[in-house]
């Protein structure tokens, strides 16, 4: 036998950077999608502004979210949605489905990192769309801009929320290891997270009972927490606690993702696909 080199090769970042930039290039080829997603955000910004104005005209405004704050809230939520609404690990499901995952395992790469890099590239491209969307949205609505410290806390919270969303998607797509059809489950989770994540309606408007349910679900960590920081509903003193809850969700969901990944690959490896 040819002598084996026992020393494992050092980790190289280069392939993953290449995966991410390829994913960006791939997204850029769908130019029509770019225009439609910006246009769709603008339409929704305008419509939600009308809805909130109408609702606030007929009801007493809650004191923590006056009209200008709720319009800011929903506009920033829609801009965040450009990034958050992407199922960046869809390709994991697809590659499990058509069996091409086998050729991923044949390459000298850490396979879950490949999906992470690919998803990140896709997301980064869509994050670039926030800039023109924001520019155009400012013609339709006025949004509040908080101080630098709040913006910083918001950015951190947004990032943590992104990871919560990433792992939820990853977990959903991992179920394809066991069952090949996941679209129904995914649809239900999307509905629930749209509603209970605070993307459309701030959670402060929910009945108290429902607010209690929301606390034990991870969805509020995706939209609600960063938006409440942005709009000042969560005051400076509340930031560490809010960010810690988000971080705990990231750790928990990340752990579940790792376990599912191990069980799923073991299923392929030991039991056969």
């Amino acid at each position: 036998m040819i002598a084996a080199r026992r020393v494992p090769k050092p980790f190289r970042l280069e392939p993953y950077v290449a995966f991410a930039s390829r994913a960006m290039a791939r997204e850029a080829t769908y130019r029509f999608d770019v225009f439609t997603s910006i246009a769709s955000v603008l339409v929704r910004v305008y419509l939600l502004r009308m809805v909130w104005i109408a609702l606030y005209a007929r009801n007493a405004a809650p004191k923590e979210l006056p009209l200008h704050a709720i319009i800011t809230y929903s506009t920033v939520a829609l801009l965040m949605g450009l990034v958050m609404d992407i199922d960046q690990t869809r390709s994991l499901h697809d590659r499990l489905h058509d069996g091409s995952i086998a050729s991923d395992f044949m390459k000298p790469i850490v396979v879950p990192l490949y999906f992470f890099a690919d998803g990140t590239g896709e997301v980064l491209f869509h994050a670039l769309l926030i800039v023109p969307s924001l520019g155009l949205a400012l013609f339709l609505v006025h949004i509040d801009v908080p101080d630098a410290a709040t913006l910083g806390a918001f950015a951190l919270s947004f990032l943590l929320g992104y990871f919560v969303g990433f792992f939820i998607n990853f977990i959903l797509n991992c179920t394809a290891f066991w069952t090949l059809e996941i679209s129904a489950v995914q649809m239900i989770v999307t509905w629930v997270s749209d509603l209970l994540g605070g993307e459309l309606v701030p959670l402060v408007f929910f009945p108290l009972a429902l607010q209690k349910v929301v606390v034990v679900l991870p969805f509020a960590a995706m939209f609600s927490t960063p938006l409440l920081i942005y709009t000042g509903v969560i005051p400076r003193a509340g930031w560490p606690g809010a960010l810690a809850v988000q971080a705990a969700w990231v750790v928990l969901l990340g752990g579940i993702s790792a376990l599912l990944w191990r069980a799923g690959t073991k299923r392929i490896v030991v039991q056969g696909g």
Binding site: M1, I2, A3, A4, R5, P8, K9, R12, E14, P15, V17, A18, F19, R22, A25, R26, T29, G99, S100, A102, S103, F105, M106, K107, P108, I109, V110, I268, V269, V270, Q271, G272
Partner: protein, 334 residues
């Protein structure tokens, strides 16, 4: 020193048993009964560096299960396996750097990117030094005529073009070992020949060890000197093509063109076809030599032409799968 060594390799798949229908689905939720399927029963072989081996077997014989174990995707249920000194499933990443693979049924190129960018990505994945990458690209572009469609997205390529791209992709990092699974499936004659030429050349020029799995035995006849026949997860023959032909190619066909019509043949051969004046006689070369047979025919009829058709490897393999392999099948070798 063997570059690939499999000893008593075994793979059993375990899948949950499930009765059909709704009741079965409900029962499956509560009971855990598994069915076991032996995909690879007992396979041993050793390959020397630079060998080109045809790995042949009917559907379900265990070919792709073996390949998946060689690549480290599947963990063997028993036996040992070493590929270039590495146990594949223990060090999947290191093993991956040593191997290249082409699957005729499935591309490993990136669907939405131009071919050239797929290569660039593979360069980053395998950490191919720029200079070597450029050299390989130049060489492959020439050998496989890639130049004209390097800028085309993979999804727009024809099957033949895509396969040529896949071959270049598999060889870009100069792997010492390549696995080719049905690499010519669905290709036309010209494209098949181009691919075969490429395989022969990398094996010859670079000393690449090749395991070739195919149903097209013309691939094997053209490329391999050694074949491993497997059936039901076991090796039933491992050796030279020539020996197989010697042992199993006992029957040849003599094609006789008669100068005039001649009804009666009293020869120790079977008449397997007759079209006008052309008669096909199948004979056992251990029972009678071709020369003796021709003599016997000319004693009875006037002939204008004779041809002897050697058995092709395809019919030999078909016969082995029908009858089973046993040494010295021909009885008394001449």
């Amino acid at each position: 020193m063997a570059i690939i060594e499999a000893i008593r390799l075994r793979k059993v798949f375990r899948s949950p048993e499930r009765e059909p229908g709704l009741r079965g689905a409900a029962k499956a939720l509560f009971t855990r009964r598994y069915t076991e399927k032996v995909a690879v029963d007992d396979i041993s072989f050793a390959l020397e560096p630079g060998e080109l081996v045809g790995y042949i077997g009917p559907n379900g014989a265990g070919k792709s299960t073996t390949i998946k174990m060689l690549t480290g995707i599947l963990v063997p249920s028993g036996g040992t396996l070493h590929v270039a000194g590495i146990v594949p499933h223990e060090r999947r990443m290191d093993n991956a750097a040593n191997i290249g693979a082409v699957f005729g049924q499935r591309s490993q190129l990136y669907w939405d990117l131009p071919l050239r960018e797929s290569f660039e990505l593979l360069r980053a994945i395998y950490d191919v030094p720029r200079e070597r990458y450029e050299r390989n690209m130049r060489q492959f572009a020439e050998m496989l005529d890639l130049e004209e469609f390097l800028a085309t997205p993979v999804r727009q390529l024809s099957l033949g073009e895509r396969m040529r791209g896949d071959f270049a992709a598999a060889m870009l990092h100069d792997p010492p070992i390549v696995y080719l699974d049905e690499p010519t499936i669905g290709l036309d004659v010209v494209a098949k020949e181009a691919i075969r030429e490429f395989i022969a050349e990398i094996n010859r020029e670079r000393g690449t060890t090749v395991i070739l799995t195919t149903h097209d035995l013309a691939d094997v006849e053209r490329l391999a000197r050694r074949i491993i026949l497997i059936d039901d997860g076991r090796v039933i023959y491992d050796g030279g093509l020539e020996r197989l032909r010697e042992e199993y190619g006992t029957h040849r066909t003599l094609v006789v063109t008669l100068a005039e019509s001649c009804e009666r043949f009293d020869v120790p051969a079977e008449v397997v076809g007759r079209e006008g004046n052309v008669v096909r006689l199948r004979f056992n070369r251990h029972a009678i030599t071709a020369e003796a047979l021709i003599r016997r025919v000319t004693e009875q009829c006037t002939i204008s032409d004779v041809t002897i058709i050697e058995p092709d490897i395809e019919s030999i393999v078909r016969r082995i799968y029908l009858e089973g392999y046993h040494d010295g099948a021909a009885g008394t070798p001449s």
